[in-house]
Amino acid sequence: MKVSNDAEAAPTGPLSELFHLQTEFQARLAEETLRYLRRLQGTLGPAAPGTVLSPGPGDGLRAAGAPGETVVLSLELENLQRVHCVVSPQLTPLVSTEGATWFPAAETAPYRLVAPGETTVLTLALPLPGVLPPGCYRGALVLQGFRDGAVAIEVAVSAPAPVRRAARRRG
């Protein structure tokens, strides 16, 4: 068996490898046992019926604008359940193809009660900051509590309009 006098060197040899494997096995066994017990406990507990999203004909929400403008996204939600639903939309950060990340400040009602059979329209106004680099920004509108229910969002931001020469002369 090779023994090193270097304190930082990792121990080698068949016994240390066996010890390493055994430790790893014990740790994974404990973790998996815990996971199994958690799932067993959850499975036996009373169900909490939830809500899921049935996708519409579109493949998400799209908008386009220039920095300084405000784009509007609109989403219709129809409650086909037999009891009231709650809708609380939240945006994820939007990431452009060039790598810029935009944390939009959306203007929307954060909470909506939807009665059975009712259709409600969610409207989100997204002001595009003046410093936002041009590009195609993608993200999602998360409807919390709907089991990973989210709507894809795409906002195309164009370059700001060039200042006219005439306007410059006047200034």
């Binding site: 017990l37 958690r38 799932r39 406990q41 959850g42 499975t43 036996l44 507990g45 009373p46 169900a47 909490a48 019926p49 809500t51 899921v52 999203l53 049935s54 519409g56 579109g58 998400g60 929400l61 799209r62 908008a63 386009a64 604008g65 403008e69 405000t70 784009v71 509007v72 996204l73 609109s74 989403l75 219709e76 939600l77 129809e78 409650n79 086909l80 359940q81 037999r82 009891v83 009231h84 639903c85 709650v86 809708v87 609380s88 939240q90 945006l91 994820t92 950060p93 944390f103 954060p110 909470y111 009660l113 009665a115 106004a125 998360v142 919390q144 509590g145 709907f146 089991r147 709507v151």
Partner: protein, 192 residues
């Protein structure tokens, strides 16, 4: 403002689940019925684990991500996890199944607005359906910041829910009432 596309989505029942007044009453009764059978540690652990699961979802949104980043950068981002591990709250939460706290809150709220509650309660006791395969995977080990974000999201939704319930019959701000205020209790023999 520039124009945008609109999409239309439907809110429906999850597969093999039905969200009706009967199933919601059964779910609430089932939760209360289980309480005497489980330990306090398990009940609290399940709630903490549920808040952490909610916090993980919320952390993906703009508000949640910003809040999490701000908390991480300050002293709570250091002291919280230290307390979490020292008091073994991580083990408490990791050993319990996450409680679907948001679904439960929304289901209980829907019961307060149900038009057929009396008829449904007349059918009691209604056996609850076990969660079975519908229970989500517990996910990674619960963390302090996830739990904190989850409690924030839950608290915010609870406040919105109470306001939404009261809104249809709420007096407008600045209202003035003249005359004697209505008596809240029937006068007893002492007051007569």
């Amino acid at each position: 403002m520039s124009p945008a596309t609109a999409d239309r989505l439907r809110l429906v029942d999850a597969p093999d689940e039905s969200r009706t007044t009967t199933t919601l009453v059964a779910s609430l009764a089932g939760r209360l019925g289980v309480l005497p059978l489980v330990s306090g540690a398990m009940a609290v652990g399940s709630l903490v684990s549920g808040f952490a699961a909610l916090g993980r979802q919320v952390g993906r949104t703009v508000e949640g991500a910003q809040l999490r980043r701000a908390l991480e950068a300050g002293r709570p981002g250091v002291n919280g996890p230290v307390l979490w591990r020292a008091l073994r709250l991580d083990e408490l939460a990791a050993s319990a199944a996450p409680s679907p706290v948001l679904d439960q809150l929304r289901n209980d709220l829907a019961l307060l607005l149900a038009g057929d509650l009396d008829e449904t309660l007349a059918l009691m006791p209604i056996p609850p359906q076990p969660a079975g395969a519908s229970v989500p995977d517990a996910g990674p080990r619960p963390e302090f910041l996830d739990c904190m974000l989850g409690m924030w999201a839950f608290g915010r939704e609870l406040a919105w829910a109470v306001e939404a319930l009261a809104a249809p019959t709420l007096d407008p701000a600045g209202a003035v009432e003249t005359g004697a205020p209505p008596a809240r209790e029937a006068p007893g023999p002492v007051l007569r």
